[in-house]
């Protein structure tokens, strides 16, 4: 059972000050507890938490490759089954590993129905390698591989709807959450590990370095994303959306303005056309999930 006081990620890790994913890692393990095995993909969290021999993980932890965490977890789960063991098998992977390079392994693991919980810490780009776009990068965000320029307003595609894709695999429990609501993260992880079958949780984890804001504002930014409707917290049980976080919605402007990755939408002059497109994405979310109070 979830225990808020449980600390399974050690001090001394090398994340940036104010790191959203580092905060998320602590919350995830409060939700899943010490009887957990963590399977990590290559990524920012892997690198900041495990330079040999200084591991920050107090639970069994394994990293193999960038794209195979779900397959490695499948093997771990099968071995535990054969040995009659009961640890929770968790994947904790970034959005690049999840949305892009690892999606085949994830699809395979979910289709096979392994009893694992796959958690994506979504900081909306490849941060480990220096802020390149991923399938989770939001529309118009400027990254080093989708830079804003004279002929570009940044990333030209909307964010992939991965929770829906995994729900379509027959996942019994899919949830989104955000470090803006820490107790909600803990609760959802707890529920996922207690649900039999492959479960998926996507946690919004603002990255001060990648998005361009002050590390003291990590939680504030996460809240702003929810308040403007660009991030929606919900649970999907057996494919049906339940328990949506409802809000009094604000325009997207303030959220965008707070981050360097969207600065080109405001300088040298405000780009009303593009901001309207992003507002439309939030409006569609609001309609689709019924988030408006």
């Amino acid at each position: 059972m979830a225990d808020k006081t449980c600390e399974l990620v050690d001090c001394g890790h090398r994340a940036c000050g104010g790191c959203g994913p580092a905060f998320a890692a602590r919350l995830i393990l409060k939700g899943s507890g010490p009887e957990s095995i963590v399977c990590a993909s290559t990524g920012c969290m892997e690198v900041f938490s495990t330079p040999y021999p200084q591991t920050a993980w107090k639970v069994p932890w394994i990293h193999s490759l960038f794209e195979n965490a779900a397959a490695v977890a499948s093997g771990i789960e099968s071995a535990l089954k054969k040995q009659g063991r009961k640890e929770n098998v968790l994947c904790i992977c970034g959005d690049g590993a999840t949305f892009d390079i690892g999606i085949q392994c994830i699809s395979g693991a979910f289709e096979r129905g392994h009893n694992i919980t796959y958690i994506c810490y979504d900081n909306e780009a490849y941060m480990n390698t220096g802020i390149q776009r991923s399938g989770a990068t939001p529309y118009d965000a400027s990254t080093t591989t989708s830079p804003a320029g004279k002929r570009s307003t940044g990333n030209n595609r909307p964010k992939k709807d991965l929770p829906q894709i995994l729900a379509a695999h027959g996942s019994p429990y899919v949830a989104t959450c955000s470090i803006a609501y820490p107790n909600d993260v803990i609760k959802k992880v707890d529920r996922a590990v207690q649900t039999e079958g492959p479960c998926y949780i996507q946690i919004h984890t603002p990255c001060c370095t990648g998005w361009g804001f002050d590390g003291a504002k990590t939680v504030e930014l996460a809240k702003m994303a929810i308040e403007c409707g660009l991030w929606v917290n919900y649970e999907m049980v057996n494919g049906k959306v339940e328990k949506v976080k409802k809000i009094k919605r604000k325009p997207v402007d303030e959220y965008l303005k707070s981050q360097k990755r969207f600065a080109h939408l405001f300088k040298p002059q405000r780009n009303d056309v593009e901001i309207a497109k992003i507002q439309a994405i939030a409006d569609v979310n609001a309609e689709k999930y019924g988030i408006d109070l």
Binding site: Y52, P60, N68, G75, Q83, C105, R112
Partner: protein, 386 residues
């Protein structure tokens, strides 16, 4: 019990008797019969393993890695493109020192697409840290599985093993195989005792990254383990011989080399055809012998040197092509280096690629070329096509 069975079933039956906790593999010609047979065994309750039917070879070996890290004995099998798709995981498994055993039904690598045999796939992965053993017949395919697990899991080694055998030529051929009983195998191969393992009661981190202060030493340690495995393979091969009557304490096999003037070096099933060719040539008064490399990684350089000592003309039969290399084949260099004698001619012959059949006549032709000092070339090209 002696029976007659297909080479791939000789692999599957041995894998079963090794009691793997987890099996994960993906179908690919000509390996498929192995995974089909194992799936059948699981379905019939003959084999009490978790069988993970994955979506790719990449996931097959990744799942094996996870299961092995969680403390289970695991098994997989593949060929060709499948092995290449696993390449990244292969390096990782060796680096993480997981004693996984995998059967390789050797097959050519595209393009052009070819389902037929050569050894390009496993030779291409020679540097990834897996022990590579090459079988000549179905009996060796079978026996090598027991030896492989015991060597891999030895705490002086802790390295994964490829058991390589020629696709179709061995995998699809029926021939006699003597199979031990489960009790005999259990007495030879004890239950798996992991060195590092994922366990909530004793948590550790595995597969951490190493900064420049540490990386080289980890790679050095893997190489040292590979070097140590030479003796461990000899020891385990000898022990196997004492228990089962088939001795595998030699990493190479010398056939009629003592008085040979010409030696052929080869890996795998073509060695049988070469032996028949040698018998015919010897009947005609030609002093030819064979050195078969049973183990290619670790490379048994001392054994090769010793076996070839006094022989001035050596030809290496290569079922691989190291594109752009002067000698053409990859194995020749290592034989030449092991011999380390400028008065000895060591030449490579690339042959049998993509399933091109090798006959006794081809071997005789190769010996003619070795004698004439013409080599580091392809053998048996269809001149009309080039």
């Amino acid at each position: 019990m002696k029976g007659i069975l297909e080479g791939s079933h000789a692999a599957a039956e041995a894998a079963k008797l090794c009691r793997p906790d987890v099996v994960s593999a993906y179908p690919i010609t000509p390996q498929t019969h192995i995974v089909e047979r194992l799936a059948e065994m699981v379905a019939d309750g003959e084999l009490d393993s978790e069988y993970i039917c994955v979506e790719s070879e990449f996931s097959a070996l990744s799942a094996c890695l996870g299961a092995s890290a969680a403390g289970s004995r695991v098994y997989s099998a593949t060929s060709s493109q499948g092995l290449l798709l696993m390449t990244e995981v292969c390096f990782n498994v060796a680096g993480m020192r997981q004693p996984i055993v995998m059967s390789i039904a050797n097959r050519a690598v595209g393009a052009p697409l070819s389902i037929w045999n050569d050894q390009q796939d496993s030779i291409a992965l020679r540097d990834c840290g897996w022990i590579q053993i090459y079988a000549e017949d179905a009996q060796e395919i079978h026996d090598f599985h027991y030896i492989a697990y015991k060597v891999a899991e030895d705490h002086d080694v802790l390295l994964p093993v490829f058991i390589c055998f020629d696709g179709f030529i061995l995998s699809h051929t029926y021939e006699p195989v003597d199979m031990p009983t489960q009790a005999e195998v259990d007495a030879f191969l004890p239950p798996y005792k992991p060195y590092n393992m994922l366990d909530a009661k004793n948590p550790i981190s595995m597969g951490m990254y190493a900064t420049p202060e540490y990386y080289m030493e980890f790679r050095y340690e893997i190489d040292q383990a590979m070097v140590r495995s030479l003796d461990v393979i000899r020891r385990v091969g000898k022990e196997f011989g004492q228990k089962f009557g088939r001795d595998y304490s030699n990493l190479v096999e010398a056939y009629k080399l003592e008085d040979a003037e010409v030696a052929i070096v080869a890996l795998g099933s073509v060695s049988g055809t070469i032996k028949d060719a040698i018998d015919e040539m010897r009947a005609d008064g030609k002093k030819v012998g064979l050195l078969r490399l049973i183990v290619f990684r670790p490379f048994p350089a001392e054994d090769v040197k010793k076996a070839l000592s006094g022989i001035k003309k050596v030809g290496v039969f290569e079922k691989n092509l190291s594109i752009g290399a002067r000698m053409k084949g990859a194995v020749g260099y290592e034989v030449k280096d092991a011999v380390n004698d400028s008065s000895v001619s060591v030449l490579s012959y690339v042959a049998g690629l993509g399933g091109r059949d090798i006959t006794i006549a081809d071997i005789k032709k190769m010996v003619g070329e070795i004698e004439a000092g013409r080599g580091d070339c392809f053998l048996g090209l269809r001149e009309e096509l080039i």
